[in-house]
């Protein structure tokens, strides 16, 4: 209880609250600009966090993370161009509603659903992260190695048909993480006699490259493609109706919010699952309920043609992923998604490591982070409602042609500022190009990022575990002396093997059916 009070006291400092609100504001702006997202915004911001105190930097980042998804729904509703990928389904019913002259209602629904999802998710973080962290304190080298393996396996396993590419991506990440002095002997590995690599691949420029330069390159591709097609942005609908949803509508949407926020929370806690999986699951589930309960009734739109539930489902689900994705990061040190991986960078800059020890070494910071998610979501609703008319008209005045090089210059300057070394600029550029190549080849990013984050810990825990067991690998699957590790390895195996068995089963069934 004292630790919670300490976190609350830290958060309630006026400057920290101001940074949190500034983060919410910037998140709404960034999210509402098509092409920008939370990854880019945080990648640009991380190098700046050097010069801020940890509480200010984290408050700003949390505010930004919470509100980008809401901002993303504005262009999705207005012109069916989602500001962020997580708003891609919001645009279907949202834009249909806007074209029927109900843009205000659609945006109001998106905001209220996001706030509901966000607050539910913050409560999940508040309830589950601390006890999970307490439990994780029992983990030794053996359990921590198995936990790292489970983290990677869960990400790879969720890729379905892409499992081989996922394994390749994870292996590349683990291999890159071995660059630098060996933990055991200090032998320089894969350094090619470059002093800059002795301490390992610079982490911040690497993140800046993957999260900032890669989208910049994608934006450059999109600009060229649009120019060749001669596309011009379409006219923006106007908001002429009320934005705040009626009480009657709120009552009707409550079951949808609860259902979809629960889906988002469960998905958020699983490393690597991400917002997209949450919105698709929530949308699909809600469509079935809507078709059964509302479709065909007088005054009710068809699904996909302006159904309020079609906005409420993806918006409450995507915001429910936000705080819950921090549960594995804060309690176990494993990022729930790519954005929470960026939080590792920010914490590392401030000399902290996420994981169970954060609650012991820096309880005020750990609790401040948790409570900030709750407060940011409370701020977000009124701020988004107040700003929506301005944002929806201003965002389309920012030309993409200037935005792309601005992101490029910001990211590369940020990479340079981490140690003031030109080498870091090359690292950011190299990893940006690698990320772009991965996208083009449909090689998933998530396993690469998770492997880069966990690589050193996995190797360290592996070598220490094998040291304890005198080289006996069965220590990881010893149900008597290491039952937690045994359970984690069983779960990891299930994550990878079950999708393969399911695919084989399905293809066999298809062959049988064809015969």
């Amino acid at each position: 209880m004292d630790a919670i009070a300490l976190g609350l006291e830290t958060l309630m400092e006026p400057t920290v609250l101001a940074f949190l609100m500034a983060g919410v504001f910037f998140g709404l702006v960034v999210g509402s600009i098509p092409g920008l997202n939370d990854n880019i915004a945080l990648a640009i911001f991380i190098p700046f966090s050097f010069s801020l105190s940890p509480t200010y930097a984290l408050a700003l980042m949390i505010g930004l993370y919470c509100s980008t998804a809401v901002g993303g729904s504005i262009p999705a509703v207005m012109v069916k161009v989602p500001g962020t990928a997580s708003a891609m389904l919001t645009g279907i019913d949202g834009n249909a509603m806007a074209r029927q002259g109900m843009a205000g209602k659609a945006i109001g629904l998106a905001i209220s659903s996001s706030v509901f999802g966000g607050i539910a998710s913050a409560l999940v973080l508040l309830m589950f992260a601390p006890p999970l962290a307490k439990f994780a304190l029992r983990f030794g080298y053996v359990e921590n190695f198995s936990l790292g393996v489970l983290g990677l396996a869960s990400v790879v396993g969720l890729l379905g048909a892409n499992i081989y590419k996922g394994l390749l991506s994870a292996t590349v990440g683990l291999l890159i993480a071995t660059v630098g002095f060996s933990i055991k002997t200090g032998y320089p590995r894969f350094t090619m006699d470059m002093a800059n690599l002795y301490e390992g691949m610079p982490f911040i420029p690497l993140l800046v490259g993957l999260f900032g330069i890669t989208p910049m390159l994608e934006m450059a591709e999109e600009i060229v493609r649009e120019r060749r097609l001669g596309n011009r942005p379409s006219a923006l609908p106007r908001i002429s109706d009320a934005i705040v949803p009626s009480w009657q509508l709120v009552k009707r949407l409550l079951p949808t919010w609860v259902r979809c926020a629960s889906i988002g929370n469960v998905i958020g806690v699983i490393p690597g699952a991400g917002m997209l999986m949450a919105i698709f699951l929530a949308y699909e589930r809600t469509s079935r309920v809507y078709k059964r309960k509302f479709e065909g009734r007088p005054g009710e739109a068809k699904w996909g043609e302006g159904a309020p539930e079609g906005i409420a489902a993806p918006e409450s689900a995507n915001n429910a992923v936000v705080a819950s994705s921090m549960v594995p990061l804060l309690s176990l040190g494993i990022p729930g998604n790519s954005v929470s991986a960026l939080f590792i960078g920010a914490l590392m800059i401030q000399g902290m490591m996420p994981g169970p020890l954060l609650f012991i070494q820096h309880p005020n910071i750990a609790w401040m982070i948790i409570l900030s998610f709750l407060v940011a979501n409370i701020f977000m609703g009124p701020m988004a409602l107040a700003l929506v008319r301005t944002l929806s008209s201003v965002v389309y005045r920012i030309p993409k042609e200037v935005l792309a090089p601005t992101i490029g210059l910001l990211c590369l300057s940020g990479a340079y500022s981490d140690g003031n070394a030109m080498f870091n600029v090359w690292v950011a550029l190299g990893f940006g190009s690698l990320g772009y190549a991965f996208n083009k080849l449909s090689i998933p990013h998530a396993p690469l990022i998770l492997a880069l984050v966990l690589g050193r810990q996995i190797e360290n825990n592996l070598s220490n575990s094998l040291g304890i067991s005198y080289g006996d690998w069965s220590i990881f699957i010893d149900p008597v002396n290491h039952p937690i590790s045994f359970g984690l390895i069983v779960a990891a195996t299930a994550f990878v093997v079950l999708p393969i068995i399911k695919r084989l089963w399905n293809s066999r069934r298809q062959v049988n059916e064809a015969a």
Partner: protein, 154 residues
Amino acid sequence: MTAQLRKPDVWAGIVFLVLGVWAFAESSTFDDMSRTYPMALSAGLVLFSASIILRSVFDRTPPKADAESATIILSGPCFQILLWGGWALLLGLGAGYILPSIVVVSIAVLRAGFPGRLRSIASSVAVALAIFGIFYFIFDVPLPVLEVIGDILD
């Protein structure tokens, strides 16, 4: 076989296979205690790359011949990589931060088709100076500057 070689997955697999073989050979030169883990990972990389190549070769779906996409990638992202690589080179060669930034941002904006040459250059100067200001003055990052500009700023 020629058709299979047009599949990007085959080439990606070959690149990672070569990388895996190189990493395996390199790891074998490390000392006894430091080599096992990277060697195992390199072997894994070789295995997964080979499986991607094989899956792609035996996949009967014909490769998509898309010259348009290749042109877009070359004139969009590839050009940007070269452009920003040039920026990094100029900074490394001591050309300072401001001038290379203005030049590179201007080229990127003009090439993207932003209307009005003068407006493009003005926007680029504004972007470069604003970002320089943020890093140099607010966050106290010692960005490389030409001696003349450094004297003025001091």
